[in-house]
């Protein structure tokens, strides 16, 4: 049931014709159960087929539909229209280059993610016949929260450090490095530390905490980064101590 319409202002940009982005306003029906992504799909199907945006699962799992909704980075599939007033402004995720309309360039994030090796690097390789790498529920619990990351880049959009210092590895990449470092089956921490504990890594973080507030999966990247700082500091002291004892 819809009894009224709601205005949606979308930041448009066509690299072939526009020198800069501009706002375009659409009037869409207001349904109590609609999320912003439903409104965008309504525009695409019924009003303006030229509108570009990414989406896939419509259930906060794929991480494709991150965008700025009234100035805050959100998943469009998780943002109910009923929670907004009569005008909703939708922009591409902040801090990323706009490729077209709401589509941003992900190259920087993807290359940073690859640099931290976000996958299991077993302590010791063993043949498949020897079975799986086993883990207790307590060992799983240690990192589980950080494994909920869906690479939606919302934390990068929330992070003012990343906006001001684009070389910063950023919240999600470091959090995922931390997730594997905490894994009892993993032995790759030393390899990851080269990137994570560098100047472009965790030490660019000044603990604004906006990443954790924005994260749609409650991963708490800010917490992960502070833990990485403490662990890296302990590494440094151990190194100093061992060279002093020699």
């Amino acid at each position: 049931m819809t009894d009224r319409s709601i205005e949606l202002e979308v930041l448009r940009y066509n690299p072939e014709t526009d020198s800069e982005p501009y706002w375009q306003r659409y009037s869409v029906p207001h349904h109590h159960e609609w999320v912003v992504l439903d409104a965008l799909n309504h525009i695409k199907e019924n009003i303006d087929p030229t509108l570009n945006y990414r989406w896939s699962c419509h259930m906060a799992v794929c991480g494709s539909c991150g965008m700025m909704i009234n100035g805050s980075p959100k998943l469009a599939c998780k943002s109910f229209m009923r929670d907004y007033e009569n005008l909703i402004r939708v922009e591409p995720l902040a801090h990323f280059p706009i490729e077209r309309d709401l589509v941003t360039g992900m190259d920087d994030f993807v290359s940073k993610l690859a640099r931290v090796k976000p996958y299991l690097i077993p302590k010791q390789d063993k043949p498949v016949e020897e079975g799986e790498y086993r883990q207790t529920p307590a060992e799983l619990k240690r990192y589980k929260q950080y494994s909920m990351c869906i690479n939606c880049m919302i934390c990068y959009s929330a992070c003012p450090e990343y906006g001001l210092i684009p070389k910063f590895l950023g919240p999600a990449a470091i959090t995922l490095a931390h997730r594997y470092n905490l894994d009892s089956r993993d032995g790759g921490r030393e390899q990851r530390q080269e990137e994570v504990a560098s100047g472009e890594g965790v030490w660019e973080c000044t603990f604004v905490g906006a990443c954790s507030e924005a994260c749609p999966k409650h991963v708490d990247p800010a917490g992960a980064l502070q833990q990485v700082k403490i662990a890296s500091t302990i590494d440094w002291f151990k190194e100093q101590l061992s060279s002093w004892l020699k």
Binding site: P15, A94, I98, P160, L164, Q226, Q227
Partner: protein, 133 residues
């Protein structure tokens, strides 16, 4: 692979005005600014020690200056900022120092409470060393 015709648009971010963008950023900047007052307070403390080294008359003049209305206002403001800094920091400690026992994490309030307890103990020790009791 076909070459994609790409002309990405990069939005500018102001170095000096970004923190007005939302409440989280403003709270963060307020917290960062507390260091200015804590810094000035530290300088005042160092001046006090320096005046003490110059003898009783110099130190009495310093104490007199501390009693001026300007000085009292500054100390109240510095106290407010340092309490804000400490409280917000203690509230963040469970993020940095999670403690796992078995399959459970120790509740946030326990970790925060332990910090307040530590603060109280250190304060009592200092007050004792200062000869208050």
């Amino acid at each position: 692979m076909a070459k994609v015709n790409s002309k990405p648009y990069q939005r500018e971010i102001s170095n000096t005005r970004w923190y007005w963008r939302n409440e989280t950023y403003m709270r963060y900047i307020a917290r960062e600014l507390t260091c200015v007052f804590i810094g000035i307070y530290t300088v005042v403390l160092l001046v006090g020690i320096w005046r003490l080294s110059q003898g009783q008359v110099a130190y009495e003049t310093f104490l007199q200056a501390l009693r001026s209305p300007m000085s009292i206002v500054f100390h109240l403001v510095a106290l407010a900022f340092s309490v804000y800094h400490s409280v917000t920091w203690f509230n963040l400690t469970p993020k940095a120092l999670p403690i796992q026992i078995g399959e459970q994490f120790v509740a946030d309030r326990v970790i925060i409470g332990a910090h307040y307890l530590g603060w109280a103990v250190v304060s009592v020790v200092f007050i004792f060393l200062a000869g208050v009791f």
